[in-house]
């Protein structure tokens, strides 16, 4: 349930943009969620529907783009994506691997109606 505080941050930022742009309302919000970020889109949506009521974001649609967990093999240089469990390099079976991406939770852009 830790999505509440991050969802509040999205709302805070969106309201700030509306004021900056002197816009009427927010229509769309674009988010990117890394698979390793620990953020669940459905939970964000759940809290969003609740906290955006009676705000300039009440009609804003959330768009989620998912970023896979990426692993780099330190032995053979192969890069691969994780589905679920942490697995050895599928090319050379090495466990000498490092996580190369998939941590992010990014507010990419906001669309407002002027």
């Amino acid at each position: 349930m830790h999505e509440l505080s991050v969802t509040e941050e999205i709302l805070r930022k969106a309201e700030e943009i509306v004021e900056q742009e002197q816009a009427g309302k927010v229509t769309d919000i674009f988010l990117e969620i890394g698979k390793l970020s620990g953020i669940i889109d459905e939970s964000v949506q759940f809290y969003w529907d609740f906290i955006s009521k009676d705000t300039v974001c009440a009609e804003a649609k959330l768009h989620f783009k998912f970023i896979p967990a990426r692993i780099h093999c330190e032995d053979c240089g192969n890069e691969y994506e994780l589905e679920h469990d942490l697995i050895p390099c599928p090319t050379c079976s090495s466990m000498n691997i490092k996580i190369a991406g998939g941590d992010e939770f990014i507010l990419k852009s906001i669309e407002v109606e002027k």
Partner: protein, 221 residues
């Protein structure tokens, strides 16, 4: 009416991380070393912490922040029971501590008379991983009955840790736990990690772990 797209590209979790950086600065200005301890429920966090504090105190002046999801004071009472100040942080049902809650807890401590702050995070192998608290070190306490595959199934919590304390090693004869397999998983997630095998029940290995902590605490003095 015209629509306008505004590019932002803001890392939402950054807000938390900025508070964490401030907390770390504050602690360092007071020459205090700090550790965030994470584990699943039942790994023996509190038992290991109590044994560790008994090794460190009174030569090292310690304090504990106890994170719990509900306003229960069972753990913090155990800590104050051995004469160490503890502050209970109630997350209000939330599954992890965040930098803001910790920052408030830290400010409630007598920082001029401390060398070491230990934060016991909420028992959970998933959520605490995403939230930096501003401590010098992250440590996971794992335990033999949890199974050796946990770094593979919950890789997030084992990332960015400086030490792994494997508790309940007195149960090794009764549980199929492949230690090298477990350690391979941890090492894949951390280039530089210290392993300690302990039993909070028998006290085995606790002093090795406590001695290592002592050298880390002295480094910020």
């Amino acid at each position: 009416m015209a629509n306008k797209r505004i590019e932002i590209v803001q890392d939402i979790l950054n807000v938390n991380d900025q508070i964490a950086v401030e907390t770390n600065k504050l602690l360092h200005s007071k020459h205090i070393f700090s550790v965030n301890i994470m584990a699943s429920p039942g790994a023996g966090k509190t038992s290991v912490i109590l044994k560790t504090l008994q090794e460190l105190s009174p030569a090292i002046r310690c304090a504990v922040l106890e994170g719990d999801t509900a306003p229960v004071t069972i753990d913090s009472e155990k800590v104050t029971g051995i004469g160490i100040p503890a502050i209970q942080i109630n997350t209000g049902g939330d599954c992890h501590l965040n930098a803001n809650l910790v920052s408030k807890g830290i400010q409630a401590l007598d920082l001029d008379n401390l060398d070491f702050v230990l934060i016991e995070n909420v028992g959970n192998l998933i959520c605490p991983a995403s939230w930096k608290l501003g401590t010098d070190m992250n440590v996971v306490i794992a335990s033999i009955p949890e199974g050796d595959d946990k770094p593979y199934k919950y890789p997030n919590i084992y990332r960015g840790i400086q030490a792994l304390v494997l508790n309940k090693i007195d149960l090794k004869p009764y549980v199929d736990f492949n230690v090298p397999f477990f350690k391979d998983g941890i090492r894949a997630l951390n280039t530089d990690v210290q392993f300690f095998e302990v039993s909070a029940k028998t006290g085995e290995g606790i002093s090795d772990w406590a001695d290592w902590l002592k050298t880390k605490i002295k480094e910020v003095k």
